[in-house]
């Protein structure tokens, strides 16, 4: 319900004040931001960065990926967005992403990975948003089932969970 409300709010914000919401090219998030994208990007909604809340991210187009993971048992049904859609939304120009997680973990992901594998920036598992204790709210999921090599380094370390920030370089 809160999700719907937030969505409605963001839509009405778009409709009523297009001038203001277009500052920097992106509408501002209405809910608590869960992802911060900065660096070489062309569209922002805060000084030098683009902030996203969950509805904003999910409005970029939901997809599904069913895969095993190297850390859990059995197949998992993830849904989320194509990370390329996110990069397109902020007009990212770069070759790599420096991703940072809530637990202080940082890793560099070549953008080439996004072309080579059908990655998913997962926001949900089994249709429900993922809590932080289950690697949420955002987890960059590699297609481990169909591309088992991604369970090994260097890809293994790039499947960053508790994702909080991305710097495009």
């Amino acid at each position: 319900m809160r999700f719907l409300l937030a969505l409605l709010l963001s839509l009405s914000a778009l409709a009523t004040s297009p001038g203001r919401s277009e500052v920097g090219g992106l509408p501002p998030p209405t809910g608590r931001p869960i992802l911060e994208v900065s660096g070489a990007i062309g569209r922002t909604n805060a000084p030098g960065k683009a902030l996203f809340d969950l509805p904003m991210l999910e409005s970029l187009g939901m997809r599904e990926l069913v895969t095993v993971t190297p850390w859990t048992e059995g197949e998992q049904r993830f849904s989320g967005i194509d990370p390329r859609a996110l990069l397109a939304a902020v007009e990212a120009r770069g070759r790599e992403l420096e991703a940072g997680a809530l637990d202080g973990y940082r890793v560099v992901i070549p953008i080439a990975d996004l072309e080579r594998y059908p990655l998913l920036l997962a926001t949900r598992r089994d249709g429900r948003p993922m809590p932080v204790r289950e690697r949420g709210p955002l987890w960059l999921v590699y297609p481990w089932s169909t591309h088992p090599e991604t369970a090994d380094q260097p890809y293994r370390g790039r499947a960053i969970w508790q994702l909080r920030s991305i710097v495009v370089r």
Partner: protein, 776 residues
């Protein structure tokens, strides 16, 4: 934390370090796997412990100041929860849990944390009592976790000991690895706060106890015996009146045997009675316990009077040994890099300052930057990069010897202080040894990694007498070393500083000129010899003559841009301006391709494709009207990357010319595989044309070679008519030079471009064209 476990974790941390420094590959191969797996288990466990410390810090910040906000704090609770649950429920922790004791402890950690979670979630900032309660319970979570880490390292230790190498490497590398016990150190940091707090509250209680003594010695007895504080009391003659249980235990004496006697005769250490009566606060004294262990006591004494007549002295002492150790540990941490155990910048600065303060002492400062570190970090991840840094630290320590101080200044930058080198040559030899120590690949669990080092050296007193000066000058030398390519060693000189200064001035000027759009372009026509018509223009960058600093050559401009990271913006600007001009000519009805020189530093190599696409796009220019001139250097340095890049550009339709051909390596194998359209004969060969058979033969060979490879040949620097005639007779396709047209502003070129079109067929065909041109 009890001393046994403290010692154990320090030891465990040390051994982990030694293992990392020595490189796992140095253990027998069949043991290596086991060892590594055990090590990884230990590493994983300590990561979980590091999570605990991180969380404890977040908890304290939130409780004290409500920072960050509640939502973020709850996130941190969950982050820590996941870390703990990974230990218990995920494959990474499985190896640890194979030990049933560890498994029991791990489940205990999880259970306690889950029990604590509701209280953590409800914690209000500023509620000190609630914070104290959850903090204590968090310690309860930490205790079994610390035990797991200790056991994990124990297992690693016994596995390593079984390999038989530990003993020999331990002694040798102990010194260089000391700081690697970083995790154990971090643990201590977490404990400092609580230790100090304990000591303070104990102090207050002791004071209350002392006032109780004045009223009733019996109640004092009961009270003081339960205190975790050593309390002793003496009468006016200094005879022992009281030794509480804690004091007796600490001093290792029996109270009954001491009562009524002179303390010195009872074996009571002076620390328990001899503190300075004038000092009002605590003073800190050390004493050796009967078991030989050194303890530190914070002591104080008060003289209490009964009715102004009899005076008694009450002496209290708090055992602060752990705090002292923690403080020493903190001091150590403050001066060392936790990853490699090397000194950090603070320590380096202090050590250099004290060396420089000595009269007439020569010191060499070597700054060292790893070549190829970023690649390791990027391709294998930061943990691999960290392991590599640790290994490099060990190598440097081995090569530098015991006299030298090695510091890690951050990232992949190291500094080595070489005390008392005989002369500059000795400093160079020393730097050579440092570089050589990295020549062999580093073997880590990530495989064989190769790095090299660029080194800049500055000598005191020759190159500076202050720490700042020396650091700055070594940095200039390092900068020069890096610019000269991998694995270079450069000694500072004043010429280097002057050149640096000029480059800096140029770079600053260039930056503002770029910002203000003050740079200008000149266009030099390239003519087709067959009909003398301009078929393209080479674009040349010009520094405006009236702009400061005056007289900057294009070469200097490009060099400054390449070294200061301005080459990207500069290239982008030139490309865009040139494409705009070409588009203008196209619109005016006389299209003329523009040939832009691009310098291929690693930086531009990455971005060139985007820059070209952007420039074409913005100008709305057909790619066929853009040519890129590249030099051979790029082929030598980055053949595969450059080939792929230029291949892609060529597929778009952009033409590629190889500039200055014949002066560099001119490796023919490259020509075969390199995507090219044109070959530009270097001006030096053209200039020599007519002066003898050699240059004629060379130009002839280049023309034939180029034609055989289906390339157009451009002659540069044509200045004399006879050169032109010879070029024509050799079958050269295109030419440029002062004879055919100097570099000029675009509008002048525009006029010229329209001319051949007007005259069109009136041009006489070759070879008579050469003759008519000759007298001109």
């Amino acid at each position: 934390m009890n001393p046994r476990r403290l010692a154990l974790s320090v030891l465990a941390g040390l051994c982990l370090s030694v293992a990392l420094v020595s490189g796992l590959g140095r253990w027998r191969e069949h043991r290596a796997f086991d060892l590594e797996a055990t090590l990884q288990a230990g590493w994983f466990a300590s990561r979980t412990e590091a999570h605990l410390l991180r969380f404890a810090a977040a908890l304290e910040r939130f409780a004290a100041r409500g920072e960050p906000d509640r939502e973020s704090f709850r996130e941190q609770i969950e982050v820590f929860l996941l870390a703990v649950q990974r230990l218990v429920r995920e494959p990474d922790g499985a190896r640890l849990l194979a030990d049933p004791v560890v498994a029991g402890l791990a489940y205990e950690v999880e259970r306690r944390l889950l029990e604590l979670e509701p209280d953590l979630t409800e914690l209000e900032p500023g509620d000190e009592a609630a914070y104290a309660r959850v903090r204590a319970r968090l310690d309860e979570v930490g205790r079994p976790l610390a035990e797991i880490v200790a056991r994990a390292y124990d297992r690693f230790l016994s596995a390593a000991a079984a390999s038989g190498r530990l003993a020999t490497t331990l002694g040798r590398e102990l010194l260089s690895s000391l700081g690697l016990a970083g995790l154990s150190g971090l643990l201590l940091v977490g404990l400092v706060v609580s230790t100090v707090r304990e000591a303070h509250s104990a102090h207050r209680q002791a004071n209350r106890a002392a006032s109780a003594a004045r009223e009733a010695e019996v109640s004092l007895r009961t009270l003081v015996d339960t205190l975790p504080v050593a309390v002793t009391a003496f009468d006016e003659q200094g005879r022992v009146l009281l030794v509480n249980r804690h004091a007796a235990e600490l001093a290792g004496i029996a109270e009954t045997a001491a009562l009524g006697r002179d303390p010195a005769a009872t074996g009571l250490p002076p620390a328990f009675y001899a503190s300075d009566p004038d000092s009002c606060g605590f003073c800190e004294v050390e004493f050796d316990r009967p078991d030989g262990r050194r303890h530190f006591l914070a002591t104080a004494r008060r003289v209490l009077r009964d009715d102004g007549s009899l005076a008694r002295t009450v002496h209290i002492a708090v055992d602060v040994t752990e705090r002292r150790q923690a403080e020493e540990r903190l001091r150590y941490l403050a001066e060392h890099d936790p990853l490699t155990g090397l000194a950090n910048r603070t320590r380096l600065t202090r050590a250099l300052a004290s060396l420089l303060a000595r009269p007439a002492s020569r010191v060499a400062l070597h700054l060292l930057d790893l070549d190829g570190f970023k690649e390791v970090n990027d391709s294998l991840g930061h943990p691999a990069g960290d392991r590599l840094l640790v290994a490099v630290a060990g190598r440097l320590a081995g090569a530098a010897g015991e006299e030298a101080l090695i510091a890690r200044l951050g990232g992949d930058e190291f500094a080595v202080v070489q005390p008392a080198p005989a002369d500059a040559a000795a400093a160079r030899r020393f730097a050579g040894r440092l570089a050589d120590s990295l020549a062999q690949p580093v073997v880590t669990s990530d495989g064989k990694l190769r790095v090299g080092a660029s080194i800049g050296i500055a000598l005191a007193p020759d190159h500076g007498r202050s720490v700042d000066e020396l650091l700055r000058h070594a940095d200039i030398a390092l900068y020069r070393a890096k610019a000269s390519g991998r694995g270079t060693i450069v000694l500072f000189s004043s010429a280097l500083a002057a050149a640096q200064e000029r480059r800096h001035r140029i770079a600053t000027a260039l930056e503002s000129a770029l910002r203000q759009g003050a740079l200008t372009l000149r266009f030099q026509p390239i003519l087709r010899l067959r009909d003398r018509r301009p078929v393209a223009c080479e674009v040349l960058l010009r520094w405006p003559e009236d702009r400061e600093p005056r007289g900057i050559s294009t070469g200097e401009l490009v060099a400054a841009a390449e070294e200061t990271g301005l080459v990207g913006p500069l290239t982008a600007w030139v490309l865009e301006a040139a494409c705009r001009q070409a588009r203008l000519w196209q619109e005016l009805g006389h299209p003329c391709p523009v040939a832009v020189n691009v310098s291929m530093t690693p930086e531009t190599l990455d971005r060139l494709e985007t820059m070209v696409a952007t420039a074409l796009d913005r100008a709305g220019l057909r790619p066929e009207l853009l040519e890129l001139e590249v030099t051979e250097g790029v082929l030598i340095r980055n053949f595969d990357q450059a080939t792929a890049l230029l291949g892609r550009l060529r597929e778009r339709g952009v033409k590629i010319a190889l500039d200055d051909f014949g002066t560099g390596y001119s490796a023919l194998a490259y020509l075969q595989r390199f995507p090219l359209d044109k070959l530009k004969i270097d001006r030096r060969f053209v200039g020599e044309l007519g002066n003898g058979p050699a240059s004629l033969a060379i130009v002839d060979a280049i023309v034939r070679l180029g034609h055989a490879l289906d390339l157009e040949i451009v002659a540069e620097g044509v200045e004399r008519p006879e050169q032109l005639a010879l070029l024509e007779s050799l079958g050269c396709d295109l030419a440029q030079g002062f004879l055919l047209g100097a570099p000029e502003p675009a509008d002048r070129i525009s006029r010229r471009l329209t001319r051949p079109l007007d005259r069109g067929p009136s041009r006489t065909p070759r070879p008579s064209a050469a003759r008519t041109a000759a007298p001109a």
